[in-house]
Amino acid sequence: MSATTQQPSRRPSVGDLLARLFGGGSGTVFALLIVVFAWIFIVNPSFAEPPSLMAFLKQAAPLMILAIGQYFVIVSGEFDLSVGSLVGAQVVIAAALIDGEEGRTVPVILLMLGFGILVGLVNGLVTTLLKVQSFITTLGMMLVLYGAIRLWTGGAPTGALSEAFRQPGRGGIDMAVVRQLPWALMILLGIVIVAVAVMRSSYGRTLMATGDNERAAGFAGVRVWRVRTLAFVASSVMATLAAILIGGYAGVTAQVGQGLEFTAITAVVLGGVVLGGGKGSVIAAMAGALTLEALFVLFNQLSLPSTIRPAVQGVIIIAAVAYAARERARPRHHQEVPTQPQPATQS
């Protein structure tokens, strides 16, 4: 994003070239992404065939969308831990309300969007107006959604999704070469374009500024509470869209959505976006999500025993983030740059 692009200042390496393209501290993720893909292709060349890639992108789309939403919140200096249970809640809501009736699909989707916006508003306003650190606000929201939904459905999802509802996540345009061009992919592209546009817009710049220095933003006339609240709304809306894709992709299960918040945050940070705000690009955040998904595929292709995968994942995440941190830490700029980004607002 232009807002954070640095001027070339040392002998450019691959990382730097990418960093210059995609924003500070993000070089690592693109390098990692390339490595992971290369490795997958070596292990299993057939993965490079268009149909497989399409299938992969279809799988990856929801997490990438969640990462975009989480990016808005994180770059503004906040956190959204509620997206996982929101995705779960939305899928269950869809099943319960549609209950197999094709006709209800559109109204219910609209209602879901409404609900998403509401959740985002609550997260945002409680955080900005009541000055509750977003970590706690959204942790609370996570509990509330988790409980409320199960309270409503008696513990396990009821009803059923309509065929129409499942299309966006499952279907696509059948065509030669790629076999199927998934709707999910097209929706993702749409969202990406919007997201990039937003970050280049005045709003995007004020969002960045708010995450960087709330007080200075305020003095410059930024309505901090509004900017941040909108970020939370964006996050919840993205979670809703992700829910529509996930529900469409795999239907209703009791566990849907669980733990997605951590995966999404990890993805964003992997993308070189700094927790605490004011740094990083939305493209890189998505790349982070894509890298994670690719990593899971690689594990599978290597038929790594599924029990040790978390361990490997942990090591890779730490290593990547540490490396990115080192990149950013040059120059050691102890005065101006806090070496430890914060999960909460400076209130």
């Binding site: 954070t4 001027q7 005045s202 960087d212 200075a216 933003a217 305020g218 003095f219 410059a220 040059r330």
Partner: protein
């Protein structure tokens, strides 16, 4: 404090050939500096000359890429500030360096809390701090006070106290007076005098030439990270000093009005404005007029600016712009109605440090006038040029700019909104003579264009040199007003009003 007096001649510290680069950009080119016991050694140079960097190398914050540091002839290398402190070097940093949530005592003894059998002895810590404060005549400061509740000035004093408490042989002070008004500056003068007595060597950075000549025995001039010269202060005039520092002579410090600048209609008027911190504020500023708001620390000047700009509120009285009453509840509304506020705390309130010059310069437009942002932004390069901004391109992050250049970015940000009324709070705090001159010229140009300027400043020369009228604040109220324009107002008169000494002040009361 140590009482053993060292004979003035002995050289305590010798830094030679110090090199330092950041981001592959060299900011110190083989600088030499030596400190003698009992001397005040001034270090001057433009913003970005490398003064703070040199100090931070001495303090163990940064490590030099090249060159040597010798203490008492022993070569030393400080990898961590702790080592510097243990070697008897203490520092008052340019940046705010206290913990707001902790007490004065906890801050002063941070890192060296006194202990009795391995446990921190809070009682003794407070006692020692109290002793120190009394010793320095700072009876109004209490060890148990939370730093957060101190004013900017109070906090700066605590930082100085902290540096003194190390009982160090070398104390470097990086613009210790930037946030201080003359009263506190005098206090500092007294402190420095006693320290000299005790043979402490003092490295002193300031942009205020007056202090350089008042205090220092020798002065070292840096330019663009290179050593220009080290001379005995007695052997040099301020003009020579400025020339060495800036590389060109600076004609008259305060530029004259642009011919034909005439006070126009009243643009800004505050009637009986008041709130928790200020009261009974009557103030008018006309287009093309420069009004200065003078007063001691905490007298309420910034508060007026904040209340005016909608950061705080006036709970009483009214504000009129171009004769029309307005209620400004937020900076946004203020900007919309043609106000601009250059805040006193550049890093905390003025800039988003991790963002580019461009992003900072267009921030207000983006925030308040998104529709006009794109086209407004086109003016920015022009503005930055006219301010002679020195940067590595508009995509450079502002945190890498020096103080003066950062201030120029802040100014550009506000000029881009083409304000009718501009409030400048400590506009030249911590910026070098060159930049200062640029700011003054800019102010003149603006008022020539009919902009109404309200300038808050703690530097009396600047108040007197620039203002058409001076409004003096005391304890949150207007103590009086002095008219007569640049040059005609005496510093004493202002101080008298500000402090309330000599009630029979001769300030005209129109």
């Amino acid at each position: 404090m140590s009482s053993d007096v060292v004979s003035p001649a002995t050289t305590l510290l010798r830094m030679s050939g110090i090199e330092k680069s950041f981001l592959g950009v060299q900011v110190l080119h083989g600088v030499d500096l030596d400190l003698r016991a009992g001397e005040v050694h001034a270090l001057i140079g433009e913003n970005g000359a490398g003064k703070s960097t040199l100090m931070k190398i001495l303090a163990g914050v940064y490590q030099a890429d090249g060159g040597t540091v010798e203490l008492d002839g022993q070569s030393v290398r400080f990898e961590h500030p702790l080592q510097a402190q243990q070697a008897g070097v203490s520092t008052v940093f340019q940046e705010f360096n206290l913990l707001p949530e902790r007490t004065v005592a906890e801050n002063v003894f941070l890192g060296r809390e006194p202990r009795r059998n391995r446990l921190v002895d809070a009682g003794r810590m407070n006692a020692d701090t109290q002793a120190l404060l009394t010793d320095l005549g700072l009876t109004w400061l209490r060890p148990e006070t939370r730093v957060r509740s101190l004013s900017v000035a109070g906090q700066q004093i605590v930082e100085i106290v902290k540096a003194l408490s190390y009982d160090a042989r070398i104390i470097s002070m990086d613009e210790p007076t930037a946030a201080l008004a003359d009263e506190e500056v005098e206090l500092l003068y007294r402190l420095i005098a006693t320290l000299k007595q005790r043979g402490v060597a003092i490295l002193y950075v300031s942009h205020r030439l007056k202090e350089i000549f008042d205090l220092s025995d020798r002065v070292t001039i840096l330019k663009d990270g290179a050593l220009v010269d080290t001379v005995a202060t007695a052997d040099i005039t301020s003009d020579e000093l400025v020339r060495k520092m800036v590389g060109r002579p600076i004609s008259s410090f305060f530029p004259d009005k642009v011919p034909g600048t005439e006070p126009g209609d009243v643009r800004l008027e505050i009637r009986q404005g008041g709130n928790e911190q200020v009261d009974g504020i009557d103030l008018t500023v006309r287009g093309g007029e420069i009004v200065a708001l003078a007063g001691l620390q905490g007298s309420g000047r910034t508060e007026i600016a904040h209340a005016l700009f909608g950061v705080d509120r006036f709970t009483r009285g009214e504000v009129l712009l171009d004769g029309r009453p307005v209620t400004l509840r937020s900076p946004r509304q203020a900007v919309r109605s043609g106000l601009a506020l250059v805040t006193e705390d550049r890093k905390g309130e003025g800039l988003v440090l991790n963002q580019s010059v461009a992003a900072n310069a267009r921030l207000v437009l983006d925030a308040v006038l998104p529709r006009r942002a794109a086209q407004g932004a086109r003016r920015i390069p022009g503005i930055l040029n006219s301010l002679e901004l020195v940067s590595r391109g508009s995509s450079q992050e502002v945190r890498f700019l020096s103080g003066g250049n950062q201030q120029k970015v802040v100014l550009a940000k506000w000029l881009a909104t083409e304000p009718k009324v501009i409030v400048l709070d400590e506009p030249t705090r911590g910026i070098d003579v060159g930049a200062k001159e640029r700011v003054y010229t800019l102010m003149r140009e603006l008022s020539a264009q009919g902009v109404a300027i309200l300038m808050i400043s703690s530097e009396l020369p600047e108040v007197i040199g620039m203002a058409d009228r001076v409004v003096v604040l005391r304890d949150g109220r207007i103590a009086g007003q002095l008219t007569g324009g640049p040059g005609d107002i005496g510093e004493e008169t202002v101080m008298a009003l500000a402090t309330g000494h000599d009630a029979a002040t001769n300030g005209e009361q129109s």
